[in-house]
Symmetry: C2
């Protein structure tokens, strides 16, 4: 199988969660827009192609299937790339965790775009400062504390063994380190399991090779995880939700 | 199978998407918190129960499985309740559409809570007015226009036949009618397929009986879909995304 991944050029974005799974598994795939340009996405987004119309990228073509939504793509790829344990219960748990990662990713996006996703950050900076403060103080401790417990229960893995969820948790932690270095420095002592998982994923041969390649774009302020120093900051002791 | 649904009392919320599937199929289920109180959710949310820990309600117990995230629950229930067409492609497309519905539901939630989900609406009303204006003017036309095309292609159904996605689209339209009546009145002429689907779902015998029962709570300002008159309003002609 040769997969075709459709995602915007110039940023990691939500496409990166799919890319990491394809790279880790050594799957054959084409990152279509990096070859043909972003215009290659339009016929799908405008509903001019057969099959399920994607609302937004990323989407994946596999034979005659067109599959959108990151968690759905990974749910599809998981068994094919040997990136999810066998059995329905494990697949459901993987999907549940991936959807919870997706919820946090949306909250991270909205921390720099709390008012209108199509408008400039600079035009919603005041609201962004407020939302980012809530993200740092309440939401990150709550979500990351949850994932830390999941990984502790899984013996260092989200699902007891390597899976696409581990790859996505790696990306989540790396993205937050880029966007919110000060907040993550404060939280890290409470996240030993996630930090160990991050290090182990980075050392996987295919991931290490990918991270060292030009295919891995640097994080930047076009993506989901954006570093604006005025949004970062310390976390005070009492988060109320991190215990 | 007797299912146990866990969701907060006093509001429809995200639990309603699951409830509609269980009711439509005539499944046997207990709405646990309505019997035992909201405290019944805590052991699961605090990670003190076996199985996958939910990050948030709703979650469903089915034998020894604990399944969280609405789209994941419906993906699990679909084949069991005969609420999704057969075959992997149809199940993936259903999941994709349900995840896109979930994205809009989150945007609707954030239109009244753009800054901090745990704080009062009244403390973020100014930002809410801005975000709600963007929702009305850009996001609703874009999302609902997408679903309208999906339903048109499906011959009146999201998936070509009745499914849990139709039930969720019904709930989405009803919720938006409650929260944003003026905006929805302006958009409705462009949504004949969704309006026909809504009417057809409401007439399904089990759904009609459910809607007439005390189990169907009225929409209120504790839920996802909230009516605050100051957030509603007209949609100007050029949405830029509705074509």
């Amino acid at each position: 199988m040769h997969y075709q991944l459709y995602y915007w050029t110039g940023l990691q974005g939500r496409g990166e969660f799919v890319r990491l799974a394809l790279e880790d598994a050594g799957a054959r795939y084409t990152d279509v827009a990096r070859v043909d340009g972003d215009a290659a996405l339009q016929p799908f987004l405008e509903g001019r192609c057969d099959g399920a119309r994607p609302f937004a990228p990323p989407f994946l073509r596999a034979d005659d299937l067109v599959i959108a939504q990151v968690a759905n793509i990974l749910h599809f790829l998981g068994p094919r790339l040997d990136l999810v344990p066998g059995g329905e219960a494990a697949r459901l748990q993987a999907l549940q965790l991936q959807l919870t990662i997706a919820d946090l990713v949306t909250e991270v996006h909205d921390s720099h775009h709390p008012i209108a996703s199509a408008d400039y950050y600079e035009d919603q900076r005041d609201a962004a400062k407020q939302r980012a403060a809530d993200l740092r103080q309440h939401r990150l401790p709550k979500f990351l504390g949850y994932f830390e417990q999941v990984v502790a229960r899984g013996g260092g893995h989200a699902l007891g063994a390597h899976s696409y969820v581990d790859l996505s948790l790696f990306q989540l932690v790396r993205g937050l380190d880029y966007a919110y270095p000060e907040a993550m420095a404060a939280l890290s002592p409470r996240l030993p399991g996630l930090r160990a998982l991050e290090a182990r994923v980075a050392e996987r041969p295919n991931i290490a090779a990918y991270l060292a390649s030009t295919r891995r774009l640097p994080f930047n302020t076009s993506g989901i995880f954006r570093h604006y120093p005025e949004l970062d900051g310390a976390i005070t002791a009492d988060t109320g939700e991190s215990s």
